[in-house]
Symmetry: D2
Subunit: 116 residues, 4 copies
């Protein structure tokens, strides 16, 4: 089974069991997503750019980064669900579109202003 | 196949074909993620809270929301990849943990300060 | 004296006294700013949109919102300082520009996609 | 005159002339703030950390960074206004508080998890 569908169903059950769907309008979920992205950002803010991967290879940063990545994904999945959007499908479509807009031969090794 | 693994592999191939891995340190990917969350936020900022789902049910908001959700997921998947974190696995673990921290009987119908 | 200049000077002294300028490259300050915006977002995420002003009129939300607004401004001021940008001056210029791009007679009562 | 008060008054007039106060509830302004922070993040996302200041010293990055910093400040000032919070005053208070929580002698040269 698709893991994004599984996570969607888990978040849906988690929400319904707590009667929290009443709080999950899109703007509220967006703010919750922003909150989790903020927590992820705080973990890395003062880590030198060239040491970030190494530091995140072991605890405590590894465990904390994993938790915040999970929270971001959980709210993203929930937001897509309330908007009735199939997250896996639209992401596949967007990547196919980006591959066309940025032909490898044209942009090789150059950072575009916007890649996606 | 897991769709998060599939998207990880697609993002990895997309990146390698363009020689863009050099730009994908964690802090840079975090800023890219923030950029996409910002674009998603802009789509909904002036929509009245109680009309957001309805407006997002049809174009142009539906198409644009889908694209930005996709971009957020793409960078999230890529960030987890460079950190060598299994996004599906850690999200399952985090949801199990949240289910224990917030017993349905205790929090039913009440918005917690932090749910995840 | 301009309060933005005063805050800039205070942040500069605070930073120098702790030898923290070494951590304050623009991308790191941006992530710190994102972290504070995230904390602000979390305060309001589950508050119904039409009750937000009323709830923020008294503690504890009032005090916490004030603290997070302060943190966002502090990092914004610090980021502008390391970029050697006069925050008050560029904001005045941007507002003058926005006033021209959005003539009151044309956009009255209609939410633009992007106002600033 | 305080520049934060001046900017608050300008934003208030800009909003009233366009009858846009109806869109400016706190959660909507927060999403607008997130949108502008996202645009700022996008400007720096692929710039190597140690080249960010140098690149932002000249156009086009200088001009664009100034505009986005201005937009972030404008929405921050507007959000504080609708919450009836004196941004300069609370920021002064928060910095005084941070100076006490992080005595220079204790934290010199070490990046704290959270400085503000």
């Amino acid at each position: 089974m698709s893991d994004l569908i599984e996570l969607r169903d888990r978040m849906r059950a988690f929400t319904d069991e707590r009667d929290w769907a009443q709080f999950h309008d899109p703007k509220s979920l967006l703010l919750a997503l922003v909150g989790e992205v903020g927590e992820l950002a705080e973990l890395f803010q003062w880590v030198p750019a060239d040491q970030a991967i190494e530091r995140a290879a072991s605890d405590p940063l590894r465990r904390r980064a994993a938790e915040e990545l999970a929270d971001v994904l959980a709210y993203l999945v929930r937001l897509a669900d309330v908007l009735d959007i199939d997250l896996a499908e639209v992401t596949r479509a967007k990547l196919a579109d980006s591959a066309q807009r940025f032909p490898a031969g044209d942009v090789r090794g150059e950072a575009p202003d916007k890649a996606l």
